[in-house]
Symmetry: C2
Amino acid sequence: MSRYFSDKYKKLVPYVPGEQPKDRRYIKLNTNESPFPPSPLAQEMARRAADGLNLYSDPRCRDLVKAAAEHFGIDKDEILFTNGSDEILNFAFMAFCDADHPAVFPDITYGFYPVFADINSVPYETVPLNDDFTIDVEAFIGVDRTVFIANPNAPTGLALPLADIERIVASNPGNVVVIDEAYVDFGGESAVELIHKYDNLLVTQTFSKSRSMAGARLGFGIGCKELISDLNAVKYSINPYNVNSVTAAAGIGSFKDDEYFKSCCKAVSDTREWTADSLRALGFTVLDSKANFVFASSPEIGGKELYSRLRERGVLVRHFDAPRIREYNRITIGSPEQMRALIGTIKTILEDIR
Amino acid sequence: MSRYFSDKYKKLVPYVPGEQPKDRRYIKLNTNESPFPPSPLAQEMARRAADGLNLYSDPRCRDLVKAAAEHFGIDKDEILFTNGSDEILNFAFMAFCDADHPAVFPDITYGFYPVFADINSVPYETVPLNDDFTIDVEAFIGVDRTVFIANPNAPTGLALPLADIERIVASNPGNVVVIDEAYVDFGGESAVELIHKYDNLLVTQTFSKSRSMAGARLGFGIGCKELISDLNAVKYSINPYNVNSVTAAAGIGSFKDDEYFKSCCKAVSDTREWTADSLRALGFTVLDSKANFVFASSPEIGGKELYSRLRERGVLVRHFDAPRIREYNRITIGSPEQMRALIGTIKTILEDIR
């Protein structure tokens, strides 16, 4: 830290992304990436866009917005694209939270929410998950704060039914409710259709998981045009050209290749069920995930020890050393081959310690 | 605006990017883009990176940082890459400015500085340019505020000698001095070499102009490792994966193709001198630009009228309707063909009104 760093940030605890070691080749199941490449059409459009990089990207992302509006059946002024969904989440903390509108989210959820709150000097409270790791819906009814809920939640993978989301939105008309649907395409119910019914609902999604474009950095928010207008005011005060041309082109390709998108989502969901069954057969407790990962613990080996032993054997998973969840690991669903290797490695580890 | 927008932003006046009309094909000389494509090596590396987009980009940009450290002769912890240089500038306003460290910059400069100040609730003062549009260096000596100076300045194109920059940095040891070198490669003197002498100097640059990569969104800051550490704390609290994989790969290609880079810079500088001479021959006042644009006014036609008449004829330049400069237009240096077309069009316009 320099002596010039503003006092207001001196106590920041930044987010820690999943590790990306380069010391050897790993089976990488730690950052919820897709095992598939982006759609061939997305790749082709990305390659073509690489020619015209001398010109600025379109700050309004007009072609991408058009493709998205068609895809979701919304108006063009009801969506805003960002440099990954972290950026739209940060914009939402900026635009819709302050001392008079503190934030609230589950105690166990995407670890970036408290970081966004802190850097924006937003007070926040957390609501403990129920004992079965489901979200305590009743605690969010009429909570009178700006709500952030990941649905499906991370790192649990558990999803709330749309009816519960609607109750939370409807019961908080004085605050924005942000539903973070990073993982919705693997079996959750999206709240996008509700944006025409509630002016306080913002739905965020990402291209990083189901659209196989984590490296391209593309996310978005969908809400009524007034909310989107507020978020645009923030964007144009920070980084108008926030989405680059290649990524915008790839995004269009992804929307236009819906068959590929659906086949990837189905393949991941099928592999997830196989993985969950295989882990249960080995004695693991596995939550009922609707995401592209499973959250699992074994009665035979501690969460951190399993993480370490897998890492030694070239398999990376994500372990959170936090209360209530430290016996679990979050395991990304990769290809069938990768998951067979994972299960084989876990078998070996369990045999070693038995 | 929604009723949920935080009071603190209700008076925001966002930045207005240069227009990007799509109604017809324009000779586009309004946003200081390069007329050349990115280096062939940069394009090739970008295309190759499009295959692996399913994996997250490296938040530390290790390969890109390595290439940059070699290029500039600095250590790897003395540089931070961002999603365009707007992002590093915003990070600097966040990290190094607050009520106790207000900002100061020239009254006529990059129009985003006051916007960054406002969105971060940073108080600021402006220092009027001298009558000849040069920066009033003495006013920044010991000014005891966080200084932002674009060198060369925009939209004037005028550059300060390195000795003046050093005097400003040396005389403000209690505050960070940010030198925004977006345009330095076209004839200015970079302050990068001073970062090892002063711990309060942050130099920012961009790939948008001299490296022909405006559409890729890549900028960076260079400073002592403590400043870079502070900026990283901000980055990891907002958007750790802020640079996408394709752009990072293209950036490496650009650094490695130094010959192409230098030839583009020389071509633009040569064309700039031809353009300035041609405008002067038509009676224009043209400032002595060291950037990839010229700032020019005619005694025969108002700035706004010239802008409008050029636009009608398919040539876009940038006009700022602000005190002291509204008789001027900022004209990007394009290809020799584009500039011949510009001069020809201006001749026609002047003949029409004579």
